[in-house]
Each structure stands twice: as structure tokens, then as C-alpha cells.
Symmetry: C2
Subunit: 348 residues, 2 copies
């Protein structure tokens, strides 16, 4: 069982005392959406499978897992305890972001929970609340929870699969960037990484500044810009992906798929790093790796034809270039190749 | 790490030496389908999400997880070692069965793998082969693997989400059974439970009879009758579900959803148990609990209007009755209520 939950187990009912049906009966009412969220749900939980509308004859699909001690700690070094709400929210955010990155909007999520027997029931109910709140507050207004699966394990694991709708349009792939395109960013970058560094530090929770607290909040409950993906598609984005592993790694993925080089503007990187300066100073850390390597904000990196007015939420962060002779696809900063180990190339 | 794999680790490369991209590059080529299997896959692995056809404007969706030591043992008491192939096959079978139970056929599967760092690469490749073989050999001819996710954990966990197509038809729900309907079974029941009992026994692997080996094989690589679900829908089935937790529990689910009683024919139960008699005798066990409680064969329990010719694969196993005064929905055997603890009611 999770060591870090043990002190709560003595005081709270755990899932060990409940059948799967009992636990589902606690969860599903918390996942019910109102206000149009259920509009795509043709058959909800309770049968062998759910049925979701796919009005344009196709569905976008992605799947993502969070595992205890890999993707979150139940108890962080700085004293913060990850709540079920955080994990539920993050499951929603990560999955919705993958749909966003295709330029689609989400229609439905299904969730499979693996729980140690000593997990408090309250923690699981809180996860359901976080999942629902994430969908709702991130603005996935056409998305509902269609169903799920529950099982036992030695560690908490949450897998969500998400469906999306392109409204008859074409998806924005990673492979469409062309030389001359503008490289643009939507959402924040490096904030969740700063939050992670604070969680992993000895800085006490109650001494965090409001800005630092916001970074921690973003690590625990990311806020992908869900309007930006469909807006980018409508504006003619040539390529796009979710920044889940950082500007350098995800920039390289886009460059590789499109067979181009993408250049990041050092002045913009410096601006992005400056936002993180005070938190970096507090920790004696460098903000550059957060900006270049931080992915859990789940922003979008997209390319647009030159001259296109960038849609709301996007700002230019660089440009797309043809590959020179003997040059492989990758990320350039100030004219030099920046590989995933290339922090040195970024002096701010 | 899985204790039971340790003796293999010394001799084999593990996933610890590979990046996620490296491992995906090993897996995805093994999942490629030919012969029409990819017909519903509009965009495959490699982007943030996949795109799957939903020709009639809706998609059926389900999700299911297998966790090491909960749903399978890496090393069984009788000496059998669960292969990656077994786990991949079972992930396909369990998920395809949920789509089958709606009367639909599967269009696509996405998979999320959580792997301890010491998992042999070969074991993961074998899992991909089993997933592909399961889809193909079980006859899911319109289904392909659309994508997936990889991560680390302390135990092996495999979650698959599956999409299905109803071809413009209506799904067969659990709730449509009516008094007077025939109750029918497709596929085997209790064979996988007999296999589980053999795996959990001290009976050496090399002493198994061919029949016993077949039970073990069915536990490790279930064979849901994938033609039967759509055939039942076409024949006018009024209710249907996947037998994943046994005739009694799943029969009660159907009865509850439909607000009826379902009566199991004791003579048919005896016939089903007789098939398991020699294995039960070998273990000094009773075949009745296997027949009434065994679910992992993933057969179908369905109801049909009286007079309908049952579609191929189905045989009658009972009947549907109106609830009497003060009678709750449930399963009857020889006129008596058979609850999940009601083995006594079944004398064969």
C-alpha cells in the first residue's frame, strides 16, 4: 500500500471494504455533467461499453497513464500531499491536451483506476471530483465521462482514454511545418517544471509566494489552453503538437516529422525564463532548463504560414527553416543546434 | 521489479536501457496489420492522437486493465510462466469481448503499458505479438492498433481502450430482456476457471491431459466468440452482456437491468459441468462453481424473443420470467433464488 497514505488509513474507510459495484456507485454520480457536457454521450456507464457521438464519421483517440511515484508523489519533499482531486484533474488535462494538439475538441473520456486496497474511499471520490472539475474548468464543454473500469494493484494507476471530434476538418499533424513558417507557442512553458522543483525542494509550503504557489498548482493541476488547438486549426496551422516533454524534445519531434529545422528566438526564451527568475533564485536553480525541458504545462507548439495572424493565445517563439546540407532535423537556438542536452546553448 | 522475472533479467536486455521512443520503435512495427485490418485507421501511431473511422456517426468505447499479480501471475504455482504473448492476447480478448457484448465489431484498440524497468525487452515485444495475434485470430477483422502510451511502474499493468462500430444499428443493452424470452449462451463457461484452478494447483505442467491443457490455454488466452455478438443483434436479441464474472453475477446484472428473473436450466448446467468433470476430479474440486462463477472465458449471455431461431454459436440455457410479488431481480435455478453464494442450489 502507499506508505504515504498510511497515516490517513486509520481514520478513513478504504476501498478494501467495498465491492467494485459499491465503489462505482460512489463514483459515477460525481461524474455526471450538466450544461451540454453530455451532448455527445449516447449511452453512459452501466453496460459493457459506452456509445459516443462521432458526427463527422471519425473519432480522434488518445490514451495516457499516471502512475504513483512515477508521475506524482503522494507526499512531496516540501510536505505537499497530492490529492485525489489533483490526480483526477491531471488525468483530464493530459488527455484533453492530446486532443487539443490535433486541433480537435474532446467528446468523451473513459477511465481505468487501479487502486491499492488501503486507498481511502474519500481519495477516490476526490479523484472523480477532480476529473469532472478538470473537464469543466478547462472548458471541454462537449466532453463527459462515458465509463470506466476499477481494479486492484500495489500502486495507484490512472489511465484515461479520450475521444475527440474534428467537426469535419482535417487534423493538424506534426509533419506539416514548412520553411518560412512562424513557430508559435500557446500556454505557459516551464511553470509546471518550476512547481515540480519547489515540490521536490525543502522550501516549506507555507513560505511560498503567490507566484510560487501558482507554479506548484500548475504542476498538480495543469491548465492546457483548450481553445488554442481548434483555433490554430481554423487559422491554418501547418503543424502542431502538445508540449509534454519540453520545447527542445517536442520541437525536435515536430522538426523530425516535418523534416525541417525549427529555430527558437533567444529573446523570447529569455522573456519566458524571466517569469521564472524569482523561483529559480529562491532555489539556487537555473530557469533555462525549466523553459527548454519543462513539459507538464501542456502548452502547444504550432507552426503557421508567414503572414497569418496568430490566433488568440499564440505568440511567436521562432521560425521554421529548410535543412542545410548535412543538417538533420532539430532545434536551433541562436543558430546553433540545441539537442536535449544542450542547455549550454541557451544563455539568458 | 517482478521477482518472477529476475532469473531472466540476467540474460536478457531490459527496458531500462531503452528510451520510450526506442521501445515504441520496437513495438509499433509488430502491431501493423494487413488484410483490411487497418481499414478503419485514418491516422495511426506517431502523432498526439490517432484517428479512427466511425462510419455511422457514433462509436462504441470500453476500457479494461490487467495488473500483474491481480489478473495474472508471472509465475504460477504449477510452474507455468505467463508470457508477454498471453498478456497481450488477453488485453485484446477482454476488450474485444466488451464490444462484442454490445452487438458491435471492434474498429481500433489503443494500449497503455506500465512496465517495471527490469522487464525484458523480449517480453514486451512478445506482448505486442500477442495483442496482434489476439485481434487477428479471434477474427476482429476490422480492428487495428491505433496507438499507445508507455511508462514506468513497480508492477506490469496493461490498459487497453477499444472502439467499436454498430453499422448503423442499435446496441444490445442489458436492460431489454422481457418475460418469456429465451436465455442463451455463446462460447464456453467455466473452462477458464478450470484452467485457473490447474494453474493454481500443484499439478505439474507436463502431466496435463490435452483437455486440461486446453483449459489452461483458455485462461491465459481467452477466446470470446466474436461472431456471436453482431449475430445476436441481427437476430433480435433483447438483452446481452459479456460473462466476465460468471453466470450468476452476470445473470443477476442482466436481470436487475431488465427488472426480471432469469432461470437457468439445471440440466444444461449439468451438461456444462460434465465437460469439466475430469479436471475437477483430478483436483478434488467441484465443477459447479466453475460453471456458475467462472467468467474469464468471456462468453455471451443473451436473451431472445421466444420463437426466434438462435443464431449460430448460441444455445438455450434458460428463460426469462416476470418478477413475482416481493421478488427482486435475480437468477433462479430449479425455482430457487441463486445468489452469488448459492452454490448449494446447484446439485449436479
Amino acid at each position: 500500500m502507499p506508505e504515504d497514505l498510511r497515516n490517513r488509513v486509520d481514520r478513513q474507510p478504504t476501498v478494501a471494504g467495498l465491492s467494485e459495484a459499491d465503489l462505482l456507485a460512489r463514483i459515477f454520480p460525481r461524474l455526471r455533467m450538466e450544461g451540454g457536457h453530455d451532448s455527445n454521450l449516447l449511452l453512459g456507464p452501466g453496460d459493457d461499453a459506452a456509445i459516443v457521438a462521432a458526427p463527422d464519421g471519425k473519432t480522434v483517440i488518445s490514451i495516457d497513464t499516471q502512475v504513483q511515484d512515477q508521475d506524482f508523489r503522494l507526499l512531496w519533499p516540501n510536505g505537499y500531499r497530492t490529492t485525489g482531486f489533483d490526480v483526477g484533474w491531471k488525468a483530464a488535462a493530459q488527455n484533453l491536451s492530446d486532443i487539443n494538439a490535433m486541433g480537435a475538441h474532446a467528446t468523451s473520456i473513459v477511465v481505468s483506476l487501479t487502486l491499492p486496497v488501503d486507498t481511502p474511499v474519500r481519495w477516490v471520490e476526490d479523484l472523480a471530483d477532480g476529473l469532472r472539475a478538470g473537464i469543466r474548468e478547462l472548458g471541454a464543454v462537449h466532453c463527459s465521462v462515458a465509463g470506466g473500469d476499477l481494479g486492484r494493484g500495489r500502486e495507484i494507476s490512472v489511465t484515461a482514454a479520450v475521444l475527440g471530434n474534428l467537426d469535419g476538418g482535417r487534423p493538424v499533424l506534426r509533419s506539416g511545418a514548412r520553411p518560412g513558417d512562424i513557430l508559435a507557442l500557446a500556454g505557459t512553458v516551464g511553470h509546471a517544471a518550476a512547481g515540480l522543483a519547489l515540490l521536490e525542494s525543502g522550501v516549506p509550503l507555507d513560505s511560498l509566494t503567490p507566484a510560487e504557489q501558482a507554479f506548484v498548482d500548475l504542476q498538480c493541476r495543469p491548465r492546457p489552453p483548450l481553445e488554442a488547438g481548434p483555433a490554430a486549426r481554423a487559422a491554418g496551422a501547418t503543424a502542431m503538437l502538445d508540449i509534454s516533454d519540453g520545447l527542445l524534445r517536442d520541437g525536435k519531434r515536430l522538426a523530425t516529422a516535418s523534416h525541417v529545422a525549427v529555430a527558437l528566438d533567444p529573446a523570447r526564451l529569455t522573456q519566458l525564463a524571466d517569469l521564472l527568475g524569482p523561483a529559480a533564485a529562491r532555489l539556487g536553480a537555473d530557469a533555462a532548463p525549466w523553459v527548454l525541458g519543462g513539459g507538464e504545462d501542456h502548452g502547444l507548439l504550432a507552426t503557421f504560414p508567414a503572414g497569418v495572424q496568430l490566433p488568440p493565445g499564440f505568440t511567436a517563439i521562432g521560425s521554421v527553416h529548410a535543412l542545410g546540407t548535412d543538417e538533420g532535423p532539430g532545434v536551433l537556438i541562436a543558430g546553433r543546434a540545441a539537442d536535449t542536452g544542450g542547455w549550454d546553448h541557451f544563455a539568458h
